[in-house]
């Protein structure tokens, strides 16, 4: 019976061979790769801010240009109020009060923009704070100052 069937099949069109794609090895590779990537993945984006330390004594510490027309100094008090002092060709001294218990760094960014526009070659600024000021407030102020003056150094109160 089977043989007859075979003979019959020979005179007709060849049988279509059905096959199944074996994706088990691909799944094995994927499992290993995903396990490795999950272990090594970092879901928090860490970045870095370059700063200098003023008054360090090392002349290479902060490339402060003494010929800058203005000197920019930012001070943060214990209540997170920011005082901006500009000295040199132009003098200014104004205060930016805290916002929601933290430094109002956004207003600081806006306040520094006109000085940057007027003195585009000035790139340095000094940030200082009260001893009890929290580090996160200082970092936020440095971030804001860097938008106008990228070379920020941390100084004494």
């Amino acid at each position: 019976m089977k043989g007859q069937l075979h003979a019959l099949n020979q005179s007709r069109a060849p049988l279509e061979m059905e096959f199944e794609l074996n994706i088990a090895p691909i799944i094995d590779c994927f499992t290993v790769l995903i396990t490795y990537l999950l272990i090594s993945a970092s879901f928090i984006s860490i970045s870095v801010m370059d700063i200098g330390v003023s008054g360090n004594g090392d002349p290479t510490a902060t490339p402060i240009e003494k010929k800058d027309p203005i000197a920019v100094s930012i001070q943060i008090n214990a209540y997170n109020d920011i005082t901006v002092k500009i000295s040199g060709s132009e003098k200014a001294n104004f205060k930016i009060p805290q916002a929601e218990g933290a430094t109002n760094w956004k207003q600081l960014v806006e306040a520094l923009k006109p000085y940057k526009a007027k003195y585009p070659n000035v790139e340095t600024a000094v940030v200082s704070a009260d001893s009890s000021t929290e580090y996160r407030n200082i970092v936020k102020v440095i971030e804001g100052v860097r938008e106008s003056f990228p070379l920020v150094s941390i100084g004494d109160e």
Partner: protein, 172 residues
């Protein structure tokens, strides 16, 4: 002949195939996402469990530099505890006249010398002004007071480090 209803039906021998096509789809998407977020370099910086880094926008380059971590109870230099703190404050017996920590000062000087000796003979990049041995990375908790951070920076400056990098959690 009527089949006895109490007779158990014989199970036919059927092969059960597992449908893993859907799993392959999920794995492919997951793999593409993880490959995209996979990165080297900065991913090796892992702060201690008791440090919450502040949020800020960084964007500067990082290299293999000495790491100093400031947590509420300890200061770590290259993952090794060096100074004990109490609520971010130094022990009074460890503080010198310039408000820096004696143990931290000696450790930083030792590390800087070690790194400089290790870098002897290694050619630096042409554009790099400061050798990596004199660079320092600070991972401080967001609640650390300025006095402590400034003290660590002063100690680092006195030890010969000139380039400081503050590590933050930023948006890319």
């Amino acid at each position: 002949m009527r089949r006895n209803r109490f007779m158990q039906k014989k199970h036919t021998n059927e092969e059960m195939t597992l449908q893993i096509t859907s799993m392959a789809d999920i794995f492919t998407i997951l793999l593409v996402f993880l490959l995209k977020s996979f990165s080297t370099g900065l991913s090796t910086i892992t702060p201690s469990n008791d440090i919450t880094l502040p949020d800020a926008k960084g964007g500067d380059e990082v290299a293999d530099v000495l790491k100093v971590e400031i947590s509420p109870n300890v200061i770590l230099v290259d993952d090794k505890p060096v100074v004990k703190l109490r609520g971010f404050r130094f022990e009074p017996t460890d503080v010198e006249a310039n408000k820096t920590s004696r143990s931290l000062n000696s450790k930083l000087i030792e590390e800087r010398k070690k790194r400089e000796m290790a870098e002897v003979g290694i050619t630096q990049d042409k554009g790099q002004k400061t050798p990596n041995a004199r660079k320092l990375m600070i991972l401080a908790d967001e609640k650390a007071p300025y006095a402590t951070v400034k003290s660590v920076l002063t100690s680092s400056g006195n030890a010969g480090f000139v380039d400081f990098k503050l590590v933050v959690i930023g948006d890319e």
